[in-house]
Symmetry: C2
Subunit: 402 residues, 2 copies
């Protein structure tokens, strides 16, 4: 790391992943600290397909803290950004006063410049805030020499960001304490545990922006008569079952729980007043397609899950990917716009049998899906060693490409 004298920078660049919950987080018991009313569990997606990259520079020459997101300067004074900055600085000061920090510690009174970009379209509704805050916290910690458990800090940026602090299969333990110190993420299994697991993100051609998840879950907590029952009675048992299914690599159990929990989350949204809708007719079409496909084979070969938007995330096993993608292409014929319909991990062409087509027996829905990202489970945040990858230039401002 460069030293902190004169006009030079401490500059660090890191990547962090997106995660997709299979047991959903919906509802806070504390809005300020972002403490959830139930535990949750997710799979971390591979950063080759979806990641956030963040560069943090720290210099005595900076006049103020600044942040650029996807090429546009944003307000650094957003409360959640401030929570993360304040918390990392506090940990850094603590570390210094404990005598653990070295000369490589950036000046704690120095201002930071933050630049962050996603390698996937932000408009696609792919829960970029989890990757974004995980990356911010991970990078700030590196710049300021903070080590140890950081998921509780990332949580204060965006609840589900805490799960993006680890690779593989990750649980967010809700915790009991009022200060949230025990509300942390933990790796259940690393990304190498279940290499056959594959993930397909079906980006649905959305028309409108849905209700934001922060205000949505707040309204749910206030008005849904079913939410408390879910958090108190349903989720604890499902967490145990899900962790067990992941340990055993039992895809059928994993798939059924995943679909049931996605459905229940959207049921809670519908039980909210006024109701919140994230699923649309395309989403419902995908859900029916998955059930018909599984029913044809009399086993759960694919599972869907939907977050706060109409996009489907499909979990399946390597051996079913090619065929299932053929099915999706048949029932959601892509627009012939010359673009690539399936991005990411390679897919082999297969032919769809007439028998399977008839067994599914649905009407094809043209233009329902914009494109598909094919990926798998991946690692947690990591540092980018190559200096040319920094998003900030030697002037402390975003490079043109960022």
């Amino acid at each position: 790391m460069p030293d902190d004298s004169g006009n030079t920078f401490s500059m660090v660049t890191c990547n962090a992943p997106v995660n997709i919950a299979v047991i959903k987080y919906w509802g806070k018991r504390d809005e300020e600290c972002i403490l959830p009313i139930n535990s949750s569990l997710s799979v971390t997606l591979h950063q080759d397909q979806l990641k956030t990259t963040t560069t943090v520079a720290c210099s005595r020459s900076f006049q103020e803290d600044r942040i650029w997101l996807n090429g546009k300067e944003e307000d650094i004074n957003q409360p959640r950004l401030q929570s993360c900055l304040r918390e990392i600085r506090r940990l850094a000061r603590k570390r210094r006063s404990d005598g653990e920090g070295g000369v490589d510690l950036a000046g704690l009174s120095h201002k930071v410049h933050i630049c962050s970009v996603n390698n996937f379209p932000t408009a696609a509704g792919l829960a970029s805030s989890a990757a974004g805050y995980a990356c911010l916290v991970y990078t700030l910690a590196r710049v300021m020499g903070v080590e140890g458990e950081l998921s509780a800090v990332a949580r204060q940026g965006s609840g589900s960001a805490c799960r993006s602090m680890y690779g593989g299969f990750v649980q967010w333990i809700m915790g009991q304490r009022e200060d949230g110190k025990d509300s942390v993420a933990q790796q259940v299994e690393p990304e190498t545990h279940w290499p056959e697991l594959r993930i397909l993100v079906l980006v649905v051609s959305a028309e409108r922006k849905p209700v934001g998840s922060t205000s949505g879950m707040q309204t749910s907590v206030e008005t849904s008569s079913l939410l408390k029952h879910r958090s108190d009675s349903v989720v604890p048992a499902r967490m145990k079952e899900m962790i067990d299914a992941v340990h055993r690599k039992d895809f059928a159990a994993f798939a059924e729980l995943t679909m049931k929990d996605s459905n229940q989350f959207h049921a809670i949204c519908l039980d909210t007043y006024p109701p919140i809708f994230y699923l649309n007719d395309v989403s419902r079409h995908i859900i029916n397609l998955v059930h018909h496909y599984n029913q044809h084979y009399r086993e759960a070969r694919v599972a869907y899950t939907f977050d706060a938007g109409p996009n489907a995330v499909i979990y399946t096993l390597q051996q079913h990917v090619d065929e299932f993608l053929q099915v999706v292409k048949h029932f959601f014929p892509p627009e012939t716009n010359g673009g690539q319909f399936v991005k990411g991990l390679p897919v082999a062409s297969t032919t769809l049998t007439e028998e399977l087509r008839q067994a599914i027996g649905m009407e094809p829905m043209v233009k329902g899906i914009s494109y598909i990202i094919s990926t798998k489970a991946g690692p947690g945040p990591c540092i980018v060693e190559e200096p040319s990858q920094h998003l900030l230039g030697s002037d402390g401002l975003p490079k043109e490409s960022a």
Copy 2:
């Protein structure tokens, strides 16, 4: 009534109404007797707009029981039809052996011919089975001289049919007994109680037939983790509140509870595995429209409820009907097919203000709604005295017009 000698008939014709629940029935505790897991409450619609007419003829010359529904002979051996027939005959025999029946009692060993028609399109998904079974039971009872509480018999044809045995505001008390004797409908208030209440049936252009409610609710009972909580904890309180709102004619309370309970019913459908979808994008569009409309006026002026299909039933007060229909017409422009868009009770034309249009601020959705039936609360089943209205001719077979 004609006597029963020679080749003459006992013939009776009755009308019965459709009812639309505002606290929903979903889930049975006994499939055979059709006993629900929670009480429910409905409004009986006026028969000028929606009714079933049934003629029952009884003659020693008939070789077998037969039934014609909407011009087509159907299988009389359907278990539910048989339940109703058996039960009415049992009550008639009991009455005769008690010495209460007179010479006007039709021969109990005689076979019946039943002919039934709706005055509304059956394909429109307007829960015709409730009106149908209510009318069947009411007419059979008249033919066979059975009096007294009949909702428990109608219930055995189709659960919600028991509520169509009364006019106005009707509750179906779930009951506790295993034989279902205490699972009966009761009038909460007659149809004259709240004359300002108006009802608009928005018939949505449906594409596909949804999952039938019998199999749907069975799957919900088996798989939804939220359903039991709803029936045990949510509905009992809502029934009290709803009855109170009806007594007080408190439209705001009535409206909010109606919408919340419709949403919760559909939430339970979504929490079912595999999930059941009755709402589509048009339904959701209507829901959003209603909330935006109410939010504009800062009071609940209209309320939606949806049964096992995409059609919306709107409750509102007389003074808001004309304007709200203008809003619906604007945001769901009808197909210009020359047909009448609003049928039933007369509607005055008003102009939609630019302010209201902008406050709702949605994109119009062309062809989403086929047509609208404008109606109000109405009376229970009634006998048709005019012999020319019989649906069966002197040969005991359907008249051509039926």
